[in-house]
């Protein structure tokens, strides 16, 4: 009789549905990687952040990164060293002012007398003396543009070039893309970079890919920059933690004379900043 009582007691203990009186909570803090891209408002010229990229994916290209841009608008590049928008029209007309070389009694001078990179009705200059070697041409047809980046993580940039208007494939092949590098700090109307570091630890010219490519080589998305560290080096404001990425576009050798006639060629470059 006694062993049955003990057995019942043991079985009761075994099958009793007891548990620990625990409440489980989860403190989970996560700060996603962020890249903020800014330049200037095309309308007002004021500094404007128009790309706010959050690292919500892991893809290794701009197309597959899975990242989120919280801002629907896109950044428009500015003319390097200014907050002047380098919009579609500006991209076409920049870089083409003619230069008068070897005129009698004067040094070479640009027909773009007001320095706005466009030879138009706003320019004027004095009559100049001719001699046999006096030439009128375009010494270097180049467009320089930039945008600014502040990041909490390393990032990459892909680019794709698309011809604009009547630009031909031959002209796309005549145009080349250059990376001038990263400018760490400066004052282009807004001071930037006081708390920044290069996005590639190798320096201003490190991490660039496909420099000096023909536009025809960039007609599908192509990697042009690989960073390996964030731009934010220390605590600071958004502009403090920003660097400037400088690009340059050149038409052929750039040395054109009157015999080349008139022409127009342009391409839109779309840069996609992403966090791999």
């Amino acid at each position: 009789m006694q062993w049955r009582v003990i057995l019942c007691g043991v079985l009761t203990m075994v099958f009793q549905p007891v548990g620990d009186a625990n409440i489980s909570d989860n403190a989970h803090f996560k700060v996603n990687g962020v890249v903020v891209v800014w330049s200037a408002d095309p309308t007002t010229g004021a500094p404007l952040a128009a790309d706010f990229i959050v690292d919500t994916g892991t893809g290794s290209t701009g197309a597959t990164s899975g990242d989120t841009d919280e801002i629907a608008e896109n950044v428009t590049a500015v003319v390097t060293g200014t907050l002047e928008t380098s919009g579609p029209n500006g991209s076409i007309v920049q870089g083409s002012p003619m230069t008068i070389n070897q005129a009698t009694g004067s040094n070479a001078f640009s027909t773009d007398s007001n320095g706005d990179r466009v030879m138009d009705a706003n320019d004027a200059f004095s009559a100049f003396g001719l001699r046999g070697i006096t030439r009128t041409g375009v010494q270097q047809m180049e467009v320089q543009s930039s945008f600014y980046v502040a990041s909490s993580v390393p990032f990459r940039i892909d680019t794709v070039a698309t011809p604009v208007g009547a630009t031909t494939t031959a002209q796309m092949a005549q145009m080349r893309f250059f990376v001038d590098g990263v400018t760490l700090s400066g004052d282009d109307g807004v001071v930037f970079g006081g708390a920044a570091q290069y996005p590639n630890s190798g320096g201003a010219n490190a991490g660039w890919r496909n420099n000096n490519s023909q536009f025809t080589q960039l007609m599908t998305p192509t990697l042009v920059f690989v960073g390996n560290q964030r731009t934010a080096a220390s605590r600071g404001t958004l502009t403090d933690q920003s660097v400037r990425l400088d690009f340059r576009y050149r038409y052929n050798t750039g040395n054109f004379s009157l015999s080349d006639g008139v022409f127009e060629a342009g391409a839109e470059f779309v840069y996609t900043v992403y966090i791999p």
């Binding site: 549905p17 007891v18 548990g19 009186a21 409440i23 403190a27 996603n32 408002d41």
Partner: protein, 281 residues
């Protein structure tokens, strides 16, 4: 369970003594004994359905002064998961990117500060979106305060205590455990978070909603072994009513460091499981 058995034993011994007594009396001895053990019921929401669920039902079967030694029994094998404070949204570990980390845009030109978590779900992700914003020299991007709020509900017939234990998850470092702090903000005596609670309740510490807290704001690194965070001195059930009527809400808060994280701090993740154990001393 032990006390009734001893009583029975003493009764049996007494009866044996009576049996062994040389003189018999025509006595009949009976015992009518009633006992209601202290009970604490803890509830929150089902992580799967979001419906209210009771998952801890604690009976006062011991007398220890810590959770580990209390000797109490929880009649429900499941453990409870907390909810996001003020809601019945489960705050479980399956929520990949919990509250507390959205970035704030501070001092943009022409607009006030705004949160990048535009839909207010506590996460900065693809479901958010905002307009381009104008910059000036002092425009900043940072997390002003990284905080997580969670709660659970308690109904009790006796005073109770709560111990807590923090365990790092994943790659969370000792330094990060040192940067995170736990707060018991208060006990909310009544409200409606999708279910009304507290209409027949009183605060579990008679001193008020913030009384009975112990070492509030403790670092997670100081909670790697069980620590007492609350001591009650009265039951929550103030008058007759339903379980929800007699319940109060415990409001917890977790903070990462000062919370002021900017781009220079990079991207990071820190996570810990906090286990609260309710017991009757």
């Amino acid at each position: 369970m032990l006390k009734p058995r001893l009583a029975d034993l003493f009764l049996a011994i007494a009866m044996l003594c009576l049996v062994a007594a040389p003189e018999a009396h025509a006595d009949i001895i009976d015992s009518a004994r009633f006992k209601v053990d202290g009970v604490v019921v803890v509830w929150a929401a089902d992580p799967n359905s979001g419906e209210t669920i009771v998952a801890d039902f604690i009976i006062d079967t011991g007398t220890g002064s810590t959770a580990a030694t209390s000797g109490d029994i929880d009649l429900i094998a499941d453990d409870l998961l907390t909810v996001v404070t003020g809601s019945l949204e489960p705050a479980d570990e399956n929520v990949a990117n919990r509250q507390g980390s959205p970035l704030i845009i501070q001092r943009p030109l022409g607009t006030g500060n705004f949160n990048t978590d535009t839909n207010g779900d506590g996460v900065m992700d693809a479901d958010d979106g905002f307009d381009a914003f104008q910059l000036r020299g002092n425009t900043d991007v940072n997390t002003r305060r990284m905080e997580i709020y969670s709660s659970f509900y308690v109904a009790s017939s006796v005073p109770f205590r709560i111990d807590s234990l923090a365990t790092p998850i994943g790659a969370t470092t000792a330094d990060q455990m040192n940067r995170m702090r736990a707060y018991l903000d208060q006990v909310t005596v009544s409200g409606d978070d999708g279910i009304a609670f507290g209409s027949a309740a009183q605060l579990p510490n008679s001193g008020g909603p913030t009384s009975g807290r112990r070492l509030n704001g403790r670092r997670f690194s100081q909670m790697l072994t069980p620590r007492n965070i609350f001591r009650g001195n009265q039951r929550t059930a103030a008058s007759r009513g339903s379980l929800a009527d007699q319940s109060v809400r415990f409001d917890m808060r977790y903070r990462y460091n000062s919370g002021n994280i900017d781009l220079a701090d990079g991207a990071f993740e820190a996570e810990a499981e906090i286990i609260y154990t309710v017991y009757i001393p």
